[in-house]
Amino acid sequence: MNAFVLSTIGTDLGPVDCQSAICSAISPRNLTWGHRLADQDFGEQLPDQCPPDGIGDEALGPVFRLVPTSDPDETCFSSKLALAETPPPGYKGTACEWASCSLNRSVDALLKIRGLVMRNPFVARLEIPAAKGKHDAGKAHINFWKYKGFDLSSAVVETWEHGK
């Protein structure tokens, strides 16, 4: 995909480079954009006041994510916003959550949803070093907002096909 310059938003710190697929997501229905959009600390564009205050960037692991392939790349860990997805009707999460990568302490519960499992037949285990991104760790489900320059796929320690 060709990269181009997004110049209509994020003017605090100048234009933001992004890929066309990402830029097509910038129809900010249900989202509130603010000055954090151009925050260069983070690897993705974030809504205002996101991530929330008071969360850390300690090392995190093991954490898991169901993925469609045994060799997941960076897009497997991109936020829904970065993947050009728009929150559907009935989505009750926040804009900030939409701009995060979902990780889990355990995928045992997710593995019980057969459609989800069919589309994501592999489990990736990650060990994320400290100072790579903010996260609301402590819960079974974790929202992760990566720092700029960090590729979550690089933290994948192993993958396996679940049930095998």
Partner: protein, 349 residues
């Protein structure tokens, strides 16, 4: 697949790169819990769901059963499939039979509970810990506040008992606890006080009623923190009494006279000793009174009383007496509740 109907998408309960579990609304009384299809890898926009009542969703949210159970035991065995691309406000449903391949393939495995996805906002909004305010006016003795609160409390907890007992998801243990309150010697007023004390105690952990504020001066108010569903049922009952007070009292008097003349009000009255004719007449009169008390099913009371016709009738009578006493405060103009329309003229004999 047969008839198609529409449903509104209420909430995506689980999103994992796409919607995975969705809550939909078909009508005011029917909802659907749905999961993504697992019949084919190309079915990512196809969903399978089962009909749910609100009570059923509430029980699911409370973790009384898992998602597999919820779907496998859909309300009225209503199963649906539909396409949802993630952007529609509503979807078009097609009915399924329980034996459908797509349903069998897509039912979640055992052990996926509501804790594993977002909280269901419908439940959070519909059953809040609501603060309900009664405006009070006129002259009040301190004991009258207690009497007022006592009537509210008795009716409120009775409604919660009925809701619990009628809910198919309520455990046998809970139903046994409810029935146990009915198992007593039903003699004078003390036995009724003990009965209502017992159900208040049984319900306190699931639907606590608390005074959250009170101002004694006139005009003042009494504010109560309550579970909304039984509270709303109580208000609906008062409204029905406001509109049909005369007929309700006639039905009560007919039942009371029959029971009194037949010796059924004594503590040693025994339902098993009733003649078939007496049973039929008692049942008819009790059902006649219950028709004026919306939300109070005599059949439910009978089941709660383990089939004891006399006990169920006595409890029904006691509910009426509490409604009558409580309503008197409104009729006297000393209590008002926004939305409850009372008129003393309607109930003139």
């Amino acid at each position: 697949m047969t008839k198609a109907v529409d449903a509104q998408v209420l909430q995506v309960l689980l999103w994992y790169d796409q919607p995975e579990i969705i809550l939909l609304k078909v009508s005011a009384v029917e909802y659907i819990l749905a999961v993504s299809s697992a019949l084919s890898v190309n079915d990512e926009q196809v969903f399978v769901g089962g009909g749910m009542t609100f009570s059923r969703i509430e029980e699911y949210q409370e973790g009384k059963f898992d998602l597999r159970y919820a779907l496998a035991h859909a309300n009225l065995r209503r199963y649906y499939t539909f396409a949802f691309d993630g952007f529609q406000e509503s979807v078009s449903l097609s009915k399924l039979v329980k034996s459908s391949d797509i349903l069998a393939a897509s039912l979640p495995e055992t052990g996926f509970f509501s804790r594993d996805h977002h909280d269901i906002e419908l439940v959070q909004h519909r059953i809040p810990d609501a603060v309900e305010k009664f405006n009070v006016d006129g002259g009040w003795e301190l004991g009258e506040f207690s009497k007022f609160y006592s009537q509210v409390e008795d009716i409120y907890y009775m409604f919660n008992d009925i809701d619990l007992y009628d809910n198919p998801a309520t455990s046998l243990q809970t139903k046994a606890t409810i029935s146990k309150a009915f198992d007593r010697s039903w003699g004078g007023g003390g036995s009724y006080v003990a009965f209502y004390d017992k159900i208040a105690n049984d319900n306190d952990h699931v639907a606590p009623l608390r005074v959250s504020g009170i101002e004694y001066h006139s005009p003042g108010y009494v504010a109560l923190r309550a579970k909304k569903k039984p509270f709303d049922s109580m208000i609906a009952l008062l409204q029905a009494y406001a509109e049909n007070g005369l007929e309700t009292r006639k039905a009560f008097n007919a039942l009371n006279r029959f029971m009194s003349f037949s010796g059924m009000l004594s503590s040693d009255a025994n339902s098993a000793a009733l003649t078939p004719v007496a049973k039929e007449e008692l049942s008819k009169l009790a059902n006649g009174l219950a028709t004026f008390l919306p939300g109070v099913s005599f059949m439910s009371l009978l089941q709660m009383a383990s089939g004891d016709l006399i006990v169920a009738s006595k409890v029904l009578k006691s509910i009426f007496k509490r409604v009558e006493r409580l309503y008197a405060f409104f009729e006297q103009g000393r209590v008002a509740y926004e939305g409850l329309d009372t008129s003393p003229l309607v109930n003139e004999d």
